[in-house]
Symmetry: C2
Subunit: 280 residues, 2 copies
């Protein structure tokens, strides 16, 4: 792999460029992004230079789509004609079925493999990029073609070299899992903060401990980004919300009942398990 | 104030002793607790020596009840006969109505003022005690007597000296507010972790980012402690759960609808506001 192009050079794209360099990648890294992001990314060493999408499609061995889900969905059909035959296209969007379906529609069958690095930060933008962002974090690949080209094996090796924990599964399974582990927590944090905002009671915004700070941190996420996540994973999110509502109904019915301790113990055990890397 | 007795020398009680010393309190600090906690607290400098509850009641100017809610409710009636006339009794329990009602039943009317330091840590026990635990955190007092004795003013000055942000309100109002800001977040964290534990889907315990870690941190809390919190604040918690369920029903109905962004914006603004100390 000699030329990698990062399309959408923000936190994730910039971190991917820095991580490639840290892992010893000595090819060229191009960026397709706004002028200000290109300039910032160049100064940080995350990319070598800015190019157009058409130039990236013509020259790259790997195209890494790391904009918003909307931007990824808009870019895929525009790659089609210009894409050179050896190029592998991948993405870092946080839902996978809509994106892999769009790729199957617009790109040669073996040109695309979907991806999702489960890593992030509160800050956005290339200024927050970090060469170790992917280290020890899950990185999901969702290949849909059984006969994968050698370049996919090379991409897998790159991901391992930047410290990511590679997991592979079909796009539907990815979306079903993250509905529970990522989208449900986001919606609960948002709904908690919105519920508290809606109370007349004085002092609700003054009398709290560190627990409320933890539980409202995800509410700070950019609403626009979440609109695309939800739009592309409605069915699985609805299922996750339904499962959560069942648990909460049970909790509410058991308030003051000693059986409620079982729900607490189950939750404690799960929370402890994911911190220890212990299977549930 | 010459003699302060801390009954239940764990994280909160031990931190109160250390904070008093750091603020320059030069009277005696006694502890009523298990032998091992007394020994650890003495070594840390949180107390000077262990005494019995009867000795503490006979000699103290201030009795600080910092065990579990259950322990506080059991201790109050046992203080009654032995309590010297000048002594002020206070507590650090996280619900206030049940405890102040018990105090009104068993103690002289002006001998008790309820309290709740909204501070904590994941770790428990006196080993985790910290002289700065109360610094810049809300400390709620719930006086029920209009004619308070001078010792209450002295206790207020002590709390200010250890850096706490003093707030005063009736016990019912305290319990109504913490149902939203503390008990609701706890139940959501527990219900989230229990819901995820109950899913058959593989990978749910492997594919997650830092958001799930934030959202399940409270699930690690000791279930036994929460059983007493819930038992003594059922009605207000039920109300808070109802308000949250209304928001979540709305979120679920609006999945994929652009109006959902309003809930996200309201949540984001609240979460931002409590971090800036901005009134909602």
């Amino acid at each position: 792999m000699r030329i990698v192009s990062i399309v959408g050079v923000g936190l994730i794209g910039g971190s991917f460029g820095l991580a490639l360099r840290k892992a010893g990648f000595d090819g060229a890294i191009y960026g397709v992004s706004s002028e200000s992001s290109i300039e910032a990314a160049r100064q940080l060493g995350a990319i070598d230079r800015g190019v157009t999408l058409r130039e990236a499609a013509a020259e790259s061995d790997l195209i890494y789509l790391s904009g918003s889900i909307e931007a990824i969905l808009e870019t895929i059909p525009r790659l089609g004609e210009a894409l050179n035959k050896k190029c592998l296209v991948t993405d870092a969007g946080s839902t996978k079925l809509a994106i892999t379906t769009a790729a199957q529609r617009s790109l040669p069958a073996d040109a695309f493999v979907g991806g999702h690095p489960m890593a992030g930060k509160e800050q956005r933008g290339v200024q927050a990029a970090d060469a170790d962002l992917f280290r020890d974090r899950p990185y999901i690949l969702t290949p849909t073609e059984p006969a994968l080209r050698p370049v996919v094996a090379e991409f897998r090796r790159l991901l391992t070299a930047i410290g990511a924990n590679l997991v592979e599964m079909p796009p539907e399974e990815h979306d079903a899992v993250v509905a529970f582990t990522s989208h449900l927590p986001q919606l609960l944090s948002t709904a908690l903060a919105a519920t508290l905002a809606g109370q007349d009671t004085d002092y609700i915004d003054k009398m709290f401990g560190p627990g409320l700070i933890d539980m409202t941190r995800l509410s700070l996420s950019a609403p626009e980004i979440w609109m695309s996540v939800i739009a592309t994973n409605k069915e699985f999110i609805d299922k996750a919300l339904g499962a959560f509502q069942d648990t909460l109904n049970r909790v509410r019915k058991q308030l003051g009942n000693s059986e409620l301790i079982e729900v607490f113990r189950r939750g404690q055990d799960f929370a402890d398990g994911i911190r220890q890397g212990r299977p549930k």
